[in-house]
Amino acid sequence: MGGKLPKYNEGELVEMLRRQDRQAFNYLYDNYSDALYGIVLKVVRSEETAQDLLQEIFVKIWKNISQYDVGKGRLFTWMLNIARNTSIDYLRVNRPEIQEIDSAVYWVEGNQNIYNELDSNELREIVSQLKPEQQTLIEMVYWGGYTHEEAAQRLSMPLGTVKTRVRSALRDLRKFFSS
């Protein structure tokens, strides 16, 4: 199922979820659980914890779906926020030492490993066109909940450089996808 993008009208799905429709949840889970699990797994780096958190995340999505505002952006962006906040909250409360000892080197290496395991499907090929450094930045800042300042500190890079590179990484990614 990995890498499959859902094909449906987001408005309809949200409407069904708000009516607590079982079919809608099935659809949501089948289409989004892999992507969200992939993110959480990268942030917490423990399968057991990631599974607990994924449960929490889907329950939160289900309970708070009435707060999602279609006009403010994509459903996935909203769910990504929930996933990101839930994972970061967990790390702050339960394993503060991880945040302390976590080095950028570990992050980069960790990602390198995941990269080696990737299939060569089209999406992944596109993503691999980004420089590894850009990928690290995207994952730290967009998924890992790092602020620009934290990322700059961990990567020993000037703040301005981090800001510019984070933005340009996403911009490049956008270009790859639209070309």
């Binding site: 199922m1 990995g2 890498g3 499959k4 993008l5 009516r19 607590q20 429709d21 079982r22 949840f25 889970y29 659980s33 892999d34 992507a35 969200l36 699990y37 992939g38 993110i39 797994l41 990268k42 990631a50 599974q51 994924l54 449960q55 889907f58 329950v59 289900w62 505002d69 006009g71 403010k72 952006g73 994509r74 996935f76 962006t77 990504l80 926020n81 990101r84 995941i114 990737l118 999406l123 992944r124 596109i126 993503v127 995207i138 800042v141 967009y142 998924w143 909940g145 602020t147 620009h148 800001k163 510019t164 984070v166 933005r167 996403l170 911009r171 990614l173 956008r174 996808f177 639209s178």
Partner: protein, 265 residues
């Protein structure tokens, strides 16, 4: 007017998506992306890129997890069961075992029941009729009032310098609509509520002008059918209405945005 291209290139949209923005910037992005389709499109494409990136890194969780999650959720099932239960409660009468005289008694009882039924029916009918009359009287009063309001409206609208901006309902309240009449010469702003939900007694709607991306307070108003005079403004890119506490707020509460409309230049 804000420079849309510059705004998009400033990087604030990327920062918004990663959560690296201040509260003020966040509201600005959400507000501007509602007004300017170019900004909305850019934000949409950037979010899509993040989304695809996430999908490219999908990992399947164990299959058992789905059931674990679903066990924690409450679903509303289709209400088929209720009908079935009504049928179940219908008493089943034995078909044989009763003699003729009992059946005549049954018929008599049924006739009495029918008579009572028709009296109740006619009483109800009379009630309905008097309700209809009362309703029509109220409607007539309302229509007279509306006619007066329309006449006033026409009188207030007759300047050639007037520009009409229809503020349409956003997601929160799609059927809402407000019309703003803006006189570019006198800078006067008048407002006419076409449709807005009645607010709670401690709340009031507030009109805002968006000038160069910044909201400017144009005063609070009540939900009436008449034309209401608001604060004057020399320049505006768009108008918007939010629901605020009674008396208004210094900054708009964007989660309470009801209608919005762009000024066509």
């Amino acid at each position: 007017m804000i420079n849309i291209k510059e705004y998009i290139e400033s990087g604030v949209l990327e920062d918004y998506l990663s959560g690296n923005v201040s509260e003020q910037e966040r509201r600005e992005v959400e507000c501007l992306s509602k007004i300017y389709p170019e900004i909305k499109a850019e934000l949409e494409q950037l979010s899509e890129a993040v989304e695809r990136y996430a999908f490219a890194h999908s990992v399947s969780p164990p299959a058992s997890l789905k059931e674990k999650i679903m066990a924690q959720l409450e679903f509303k099932e289709e209400e088929v069961q209720e009908e079935v239960s009504i049928e179940d409660e219908t008493p089943v009468l034995p078909l044989n075992s009763r003699n003729n005289s009992f059946q005549w008694g049954w018929v008599a009882a049924a006739s009495v029941a029918a008579l009572i039924g028709s009296v109740v029916y006619f009483n109800a009918k009379v009630d309905t009729l008097s309700q209809t009359v009362a309703k029509q009287q109220t409607e007539l009063q309302q229509q007279t009032q509306q006619l007066q309001q329309q006449t006033d409206l026409l009188a207030g609208l007759s300047s050639v310098d007037n520009q009409f901006v229809t503020l349409k309902g956003v997601d929160k309240s799609p059927s809402s609509a407000v019309r703003v009449v803006w006189n570019a010469k006198t800078q006067e702003v008048q407002l006419n509520v076409l449709s807005l939900p009645t607010p709670a007694s401690d709340k009031q709607y507030q009109l805002w002008a968006l000038v160069g991306g910044k909201p400017v307070d144009l005063g609070v108003f009540d939900v009436t059918g008449s034309l209401q005079k608001m604060k004057a403004i020399p320049q505006a890119d768009a108008f918007a209405v939010t629901l605020e506490r009674k008396g208004g707020s210094p900054v708009p509460t964007l989660s309470e945005l009801y209608v919005m409309g762009k000024v066509t230049s």
